[in-house]
Amino acid sequence: MKLNTPVLIIIGVIVLGGLFFVFKPKTQPQNSPSTPQSQTPTTQDSNGTDEILDLTNQKEVQMDIQDYAFQKPNIRIKVGTKVTWTNRDSVRHTATADDGSFDTGLLAQGESGSYVFTTPGTFGYYCIPHPNMRGTIIVEGDNQGSITESKNTFNLVIKEKKVISGPTTIKINQGDEVTIKITSDEAEEFHVHAYDNSVELEPNKQATLTFTANLSGRFPFELENSKTEIGALEVQPK
């Protein structure tokens, strides 16, 4: 094998190009729950509008993803509201929270993903394949004080062996008590690795799994019967 300078230069360029892809600056903020979006987002929304659409009177919100944009980029809703995104583009999109709290997964044309917002706060989200597509959802608390769920309660809705609502990565701290409520469209068994906690799922009936997270690490949870990994529990050490 004979390698001369031009060949090496070409190889070098390829490698540096590859490294650029990997290390290139992120175009959207990283998963950082510590830097919540401002109440009135002024930049980064795909339609160039700052307007916040008040939908606090609606129990369900339908939103199209079209022309590489979320059609209602900034909305205000009440706790408990279900937001459904439907992709109208021919390319695949996601609606993924900056802090990982929800993720529709990749939606092909015509497919939908939804999430029920159970905690008040401001949630920035984007599309994984097209991070310039951004949106913000402001979730207002319920005045009746009906939010009984603590911060370590997570609601998962599973459809066709995929999490369509709720976090795919559940982040908690070691020692926390965690409650996972799961609703699946088919009979399954929900299983958390290493903890070996399981709960039987009946079709469209909510099942609850509560335990103390005393092991630190990253533990996938899966649908045991079909061996499908649908997410993971990340327990930060003390």
Binding site: L3, D103, T168, T169, H193, G217, R218, Q236, P237
Partner: protein, 474 residues
């Protein structure tokens, strides 16, 4: 002999290709990504350590090929360990465990963590023996069950198996590299169950029979049987060597500077040891996922069709050693340029190849060692109930499993392992440079490109460990 070959060739249609599910064959890693500050700290420490190693060498003259050894065979206990009788016992155990692994797949429950075959093969053999080999030397060369089988056949025939054709030596280690690639592919993507594992092992036995018959025992186990090549490379780091039937203690890692890689394929093999582990870590991370869905999906989907993400992963695994090779050659070329040496690029790249083994090894340890604890601790239970039939042969069927290793400990040990490999790599590269370059000054200058190389590999290893992991996105 030809008849046997013909029969075996006739059997090849029964070879079974595993169905890829693009998930790990066995063992779940429960490691959290290393915190970012620890990654930065590790990177800085790597650079500082490199300069300390170089500084240590500034006034050192060319090292001789001699190194101190201690004859261990003067101790009666060691003599016992190297006796023919004890070796036969070891070989027997090895063959027994190999057969047990195969049989377990056929008679045992087809459920990975309740069948001893999976833990024996993926954890005890593939990981455990690798780590053990780094300490006690290439014991696999002595107890390789496939080789033991060939030895027995030789004894029965009363002659050495020379093979039908002479092995074309210019092929080098490429056959081993191909098998190694297939092995890693199965490990990472095929999610084999116990039964499939056993069928693959049976196929591998048949392949070995064919290979030995074709090119002879020596050539096959030197160039083609990839576990032999793999463990031989790992064993070079061990502080133990065997000469004329006697065991000697030696300084660790000197095996890496005694000889150079004699064929380009061996360099690729070492780079694949490095890159396959790096790839396995990388493909779980969010950046790998983004790299595809943001930049490559539009390019690949029209060409590769529906399974483009899976094909892309196989392709990325295949290309991974070449990415590491490009970086390696680029910096070796730089070393050649700054030292103005007459040695060819190929010669230089072979000379320094073994200095990458420690880095490849620590990548593997940092990435997988927790599996040896979490999955290996199932052995107590599995020994009593190897086939998942609710037996309790030795009363250990209810032995507890160690589910996790403390996360803080995992993080610190991972960074420490990567740094240790880095320091050893830089150190070995420097000793090689002192041997390769006649002038001490040139040797010193040549170190800077190599130092950059090691820092890149180390930073890449740490960076991968620190990246967030995707979940449930597919």
């Amino acid at each position: 002999m030809r008849k046997i070959v013909a029969i075996l060739v006739g059997l090849t249609p029964f070879f079974i290709a595993p169905q890829p599910t693009f998930a790990h064959s066995f063992g779940k890693l429960y490691n959290l990504p290393v915190p970012f500050w620890m990654y930065l700290y590790g990177g800085v420490a790597a650079i500082v350590a490199s300069f300390l190693v170089i500084g240590y060498f500034i006034n050192k003259t060319n090292p001789s090929n001699n190194y101190p050894t201690i004859n261990l065979s003067k101790f009666r206990f060691v003599t016992f360990l190297t006796s023919a009788w004890f070796l036969t016992v070891l070989k027997g155990i090895s063959v027994f465990l190999f057969l047990l692994t195969i049989v377990a797949g056929f008679v045992g429950i087809d459920f990975p963590s309740f069948n001893i075959g999976m833990t024996l093969f993926w954890i005890i053999f593939a990981l455990g023996l690798t780590y053990l080999t780094a300490f006690i030397g290439n014991i696999y060369a002595l107890i390789n069950p496939l080789k033991v089988g060939a030895d027995v056949v030789e004894k029965i025939l009363g002659e050495k198996i020379k093979g039908i054709v002479k092995y074309p030596e210019r092929l080098g280690y490429y056959p081993a590299l191909v098998f190694y690639f297939l092995f890693i592919w199965i490990e990472l993507f095929a999610e084999t169950g116990p039964l499939q594992l056993s069928m693959i092992l049976v196929q591998y036995v048949m392949l070995n029979v064919l290979g030995v018959a074709l090119v002879g025992k020596n050539a096959w186990f030197t160039y083609c049987e990839f576990f032999s090549v793999f463990f031989r490379l790992i064993g070079k780091m061990a502080p133990v060597e065997c000469k004329r039937g006697k065991l000697f203690l030696r300084p660790p890692f000197v095996g890496l500077i005694k000889e150079k890689a004699e064929h380009f394929s061996l360099l690729l093999f070492i780079l694949f040891m490095l890159s396959s582990t790096a790839f396995d870590g990388f493909r779980e991370t969010t950046p790998f996922y983004r790299l595809y869905w943001q930049n490559l999906d539009d390019v690949f989907r029209p060409i590769l069709g529906a399974n483009s993400y899976e094909t892309y992963q196989t392709l990325a695994l295949f290309l991974s050693p070449f990415v590491f090779l490009s970086v390696y050659l680029l910096l070796i070329w730089l070393a050649k340029a700054v030292t103005n040496t007459k040695l060819s690029l190929r010669e230089l790249s072979l000379q320094f190849a073994f200095s990458l083994i420690p880095i490849a090894f620590v990548y593997n340890v940092a990435h997988y060692y927790t599996l040896v604890v979490t999955e290996g601790s199932n052995m107590g239970r599995l020994i009593s109930d190897p086939f998942g039939k609710n037996w309790n042969l030795f009363g250990t069927a209810n032995w507890p499993n160690i589910p996790t290793v403390d996360t803080n400990f995992v993080w610190h040990s991972q960074v420490a392992f990567i740094l240790l490999g880095h320091i050893v790599g830089v150190y070995i590269a420097h000793i090689i440079a002192l041997k390769v370059f006649p002038s001490h000054k040139k040797a010193l200058i040549s170190q800077f490109p190599l130092l950059i190389l090691m820092v890149i590999y180390t930073m890449a290893g740490l960076w991968i460990l620190s990246q967030p992991i995707t979940s449930g996105l597919e």
